[in-house]
């Protein structure tokens, strides 16, 4: 097992190098530079001469060929410096650090919520397969799954913000947040997070419940389930212990693959709710050609994806005694 993990880590490091190289090449060869954006947003009474552009390019090191710039970026990254964002005038590590909390707040809560709700729903659907209530739940779940989050989000806003005025429109905190007590602050954030979490959760809930139901449908037909039933094991125990345990493997794979999702956030939802998360940051930094931030985020997501896969592989061995890497 130890050897396996070490081998995987070495491969992961090389993959990482390859990914960052590729992304660096891609973003540096996209049309436009951070300065192009500055020009397009400029006040009409101001202007930027080509000589000025050249001068600023030089200060930011944009005049260098990209392979050289990559090597420099890599060198700095290995020394723990991800550089300075062009557009936000802050170190990249700060910017990412600032966004981790709000992003995790949404993703972690929604993943936990989705699983907590999806597992019983999936099991219930299996037990009641073909009955009216199961059909209805499935239909609702299908509808939720196919409702795009930005449409769902907008409807929820119209209802809970405009019509009922129960929930806030945007942001993570109220104006008077700073003057609140710790409990007040917690409630304030929770109040702001209700709608984004709902939107984050409902699609994955629908997906997960369907996923569990589909896997269970296969397992439930197996001989050993019939054997268990024949032995006189109760239907609840058959479902949870005998059947569900055997559907855990695909679920674990899926859980491993959600690791990068934990931090990647959602561009559309974060934009809609003005939530200061990672998805929005990634989108903005691409739009702004903010190379250091894009690279910082790409590195983070790559690491998480690789770690997620490794974790899933290791967890296989834990949930399935037949799998062994030694």
């Amino acid at each position: 097992m130890f050897n396996y993990v070490v081998r995987r880590l070495v491969i992961a490091a090389l993959t990482l190098l390859f990914i960052t190289f590729l992304i660096f090449a891609l973003i540096r060869n996209m049309p436009g530079t951070p300065l192009t954006v500055a020009v397009s947003e400029m006040d009409p009474s101001r202007r930027l001469d080509p000589a000025d552009l050249e001068r600023i390019s030089k200060t930011y090191g944009l005049d260098k060929p990209w392979p050289q710039a990559y090597v420099i970026w890599l060198g700095n990254t290995l020394r723990g410096d991800l550089g300075q964002s062009f557009s936000r005038k802050q170190p990249v590590t700060w910017i990412i650090g600032e966004r981790i909390g709000p992003t995790l707040l949404l993703s972690l809560t929604s993943i936990v919520l989705a699983y907590v709700l999806a597992i019983p729903m999936g099991l219930y659907a299996t037990a009641r397969s073909g009955k009216l209530d199961e059909r209805t739940t499935s239909l609702v779940l299908y509808m939720l799954y196919s409702l795009p989050t930005f449409v769902g989000g907008l409807f929820l806003l119209l209802l809970f913000y405009q019509e009922l005025d129960w929930l806030p429109l945007r942001g993570m905190t109220s104006d008077e947040y700073d003057s609140l007590s710790s409990w007040g602050k917690f409630c304030d954030i929770a109040w702001h997070a209700v709608l984004p979490i709902t939107c984050f959760t409902y699609t994955s809930l629908a997906y997960d419940a369907r996923f569990i139901r589909a896997n269970m449908a296969e397992v439930i037909r197996q001989d050993y389930i019939r054997t268990a039933r024949a032995k006189g094991v109760g239907p609840f125990r058959v479902l949870t212990v005998h059947a569900f345990r055997n559907t855990l493997i695909p679920l674990v794979t899926q859980l491993g693959l959600t690791l990068p999702f934990l931090l990647s956030g959602s561009v559309i939802l974060e934009q809609l709710f003005t939530w200061p998360g990672m998805g929005n940051l990634f989108f903005e930094s691409i739009r702004e050609r903010d190379y250091p931030t894009i690279m910082g985020l790409a590195l983070l997501f790559s690491v998480l994806t690789l770690a997620g896969q490794l974790l899933a592989d290791v967890l296989y061995a834990v949930v399935d005694p037949r799998v062994s890497y030694s």
Binding site: R7, S40, D52, R170
Partner: protein, 648 residues
């Protein structure tokens, strides 16, 4: 396990090579340089940079200057007071009550609303000085340092937190601001401007704002090592700036130009904060010290930044030390206690926020104006008003393509377009057609207005025939023999992915199809679009320009080889007239020169001029004192500073 050996070997080689390179490249070549590298690099070059920043310019003694200058007094005024005086002679077209009850459905309604609610406060008792205004901000500011600003949003914030020496009114008349300046004089030969600053100005940390701060700001802006994005334009036309004492400042010009009065406007940063740190970090944003002041800047204006949550909001708080000095009130108390800029990128969400009173003003799109702001839900807390802006939109033709090098072809394009459909259907009859870059109501527009283009397909076809673009091979598409090749008239027009603009380009495509020309509409991400324009890699493009405060700012759109002349337009007469315009000081005569430029360009049709955009705004019913200038309701003097919340 899969066998990875085949791709592992090259990757190992790559890693080794990059490590090797990473540690042999010098620190000072870092693109995203480390702070340490900056410091080391800075120290090495410190002495030479100081010399460079100071330049070869040496200011003569003030006595010598005074003796030869023959100073002429220039206006020092308070733009809010000017607006009060202007309005004193005007009778409002409706009472407040009537205006607030009105729905803005016609031109008359708009005039009545704008006239009644645009009245500035004449008495302090009308103003709720404890009020907060929530303003809509489409994009976050990138930097709070005024010399690092480049976007409209940054100048919005910078205008409130920075001390400015100069201003201009709704007619773009230049003046020094009486808030900061005691006197402004120009030498008879117009080579020097002398400004005496007030002695009751302080930074938000209590230090006095002096002429030395202005001189230091000038040197910082002109320092080649400092990546100043936009405010260098104009300032770079100065020969130098010199502070003779704490209050007396002289701007030295390279040439006697009419535009000199605009070049003296530079944002001021505190010398005591940046003088020492500048040499450690020329970017003004990388070192921890500069990061600290980026988050909490020392401000010289009426407001300070009290809170900043990036991409969410920026909160400004009124600064008592701005209007009070040694226990006495020395300037007008700014109307708002707090200004909260809320960043909302999605216009639909912003409109929801307006309807619920979370923001007090927003710029509406034409569609929002017509279809989404007529119900009681909107009028419950808000009203809306619009004014003409000197922002025009156009199709730009690249003159270095085989299609558009011929003026007849460009005219044919202009004759082919259906302006009526654009104005009536796409813009709901809200916009007016443009016949050139200067609005007919402006002082620089020609007296004899060139006639507006109207769709005339026969004329367009005739012009194309004359230019040799005929359908030679009978496939229904016009073509022309260029060299040995038969070139089809098929080109692409690039535009941003904004529905309204795509519709306009599609209308052009349909119109041109009727005369045997194929036009492909290419929607592009803004950055890619900008990149293609800057590098002249386009055949045709949709675009728009706002107006600068002086018509000379348009020379880099039209003069040969200039920065914003994306379509390679060149007319020696126009180049010459721009030079003349800068040398003429009489506004009337200057106006005639720019009128000629306007007409010459319109005759050449490097653009097909489309329409002038109105500014459409939603305002909270509690707001008063907003007036529209050709640059919208905020970006002029008094602009935002005349807006207040009514007490009741």
């Amino acid at each position: 396990m899969p066998n990875f050996r085949s791709f592992v070997r090259p990757l190992v080689c790559l890693t080794a090579a990059t490590w090797l390179l990473a540690f042999t490249v010098e620190d000072n070549e870092c693109p995203f340089a480390t702070k340490k590298a900056h410091a080391a690099n800075a120290q090495k070059k410190q002495s030479s940079d100081q010399k460079q920043a100071a330049g070869p310019f040496v200011a003569p003694p003030l006595a010598e200057l005074d003796a030869k200058a023959e100073w002429i007094d220039q206006p020092v005024k308070d733009t809010l007071q000017l607006m009060r005086e202007k309005q004193a002679g005007e009778k409002p077209l409706a009472s407040l009550k009537q205006a607030l009850a009105l729905k803005n459905k016609s031109k008359q309604d708009n005039e009545r609303i704008a006239s009644a609610l645009g009245r500035v406060a004449t008495d302090d008792s009308e103003v709720d000085y404890e009020a907060t205004i929530n303003r809509h901000m489409l994009r976050d500011v990138k930097s709070t340092n005024p010399i690092m600003g480049s976007s409209v949003e940054e100048f919005d914030v910078g205008g409130l937190t920075g001390a400015g020496l100069f201003a201009f009114d709704w007619d773009m008349n230049r003046m020094a601001s009486s808030d900061t300046v005691v006197s402004w004089q120009t030498s008879r030969d117009r080579m020097y401007d002398k400004v005496v600053m007030r002695d009751d100005l302080t930074w938000s940390d209590g230090q006095p704002i002096t002429a030395h701060d202005v001189e230091f700001s000038y040197h910082t802006i002109m320092n080649d090592k400092v990546p100043v994005p936009a405010v260098r334009s104009g300032v770079d036309k100065l020969l130098g700036v010199h502070a003779y004492d704490d209050r007396t400042l002289v701007f030295f010009h390279k040439e006697a130009l009419a535009t000199n009065i605009w070049n003296v406007d530079l944002p001021i940063i505190p010398r005591h904060i940046y003088e020492k740190s500048l040499n450690d970090d020329f970017t003004l944003q990388n070192s921890p010290y500069h990061v600290k002041y980026e988050s909490n800047p020392v401000c010289g204006g009426a407001y300070t930044i009290s809170k900043r949550v990036r991409r969410q909001e920026i909160v400004l708080t009124r600064r008592e030390s701005w209007y009070m000095h040694n226990g006495k009130q020395v300037r007008d108390k700014p109307y708002f206690k707090e200004i909260r800029f809320r960043v909302i990128e999605d216009p639909n969400i912003a409109l929801l926020a307006v309807k619920n009173g979370e923001i007090d003003e927003m710029l509406l799109t034409a569609e929002q104006w017509v279809t989404q702001t007529n119900d009681d839900d909107f009028y419950r807390l808000n009203t809306k008003a619009s004014g003409l802006e000197w922002t025009y939109f156009f199709f730009s033709w690249n003159l270095h393509t085989p299609f558009f090098s011929d003026v007849r072809v460009r005219k044919a394009m202009s004759y082919a377009f259906d302006y009526k459909e654009m104005l009536d259907k796409l813009f709901y009859g809200l916009y007016e057609q443009s016949n050139g870059m200067f609005h007919r109501g402006s002082w620089m527009a020609p007296k004899k207005q060139p006639p507006l283009y109207k769709q005339d397909l026969d004329k367009a076809e005739q012009l194309l025939d004359d230019a040799g673009w005929e359908d030679h091979d009978g496939d229904g598409i016009r073509d022309k023999k260029i060299g040995k090749n038969l070139v089809k008239f098929e080109f692409s027009i690039i535009c941003p992915t904004v529905p309204e603009r795509v519709k306009l380009c599609t209308l052009l495509k349909e119109n041109l199809a009727q005369i045997g020309v194929i036009c492909n509409v290419r929607q592009l991400e803004p950055t890619v679009l900008q990149d293609m324009m800057l590098n002249h890699k386009f055949e045709a493009a949709f675009g728009g320009w706002g107006t600068g405060a002086d018509p000379d700012t348009s020379d880099n759109i039209w003069a040969t080889g200039e920065g914003r002349n994306f379509g390679f337009y060149s007319n020696p007469k126009v180049d010459e007239l721009y030079k003349q315009g800068r040398l003429e000081f009489d506004r009337k005569k200057r106006g005639e020169i720019y009128g000629k430029i306007h007409s010459l360009i319109f005759e050449d049709q490097p653009y097909t001029f489309l329409y002038f955009r109105n500014s459409f705004y939603a305002f909270s019913k509690k707001l008063r004192g907003y007036n529209f200038s050709p640059r919208g309701p905020f970006h002029y003097g008094p602009g935002f500073s005349s807006i207040y919340k009514a007490k009741n």
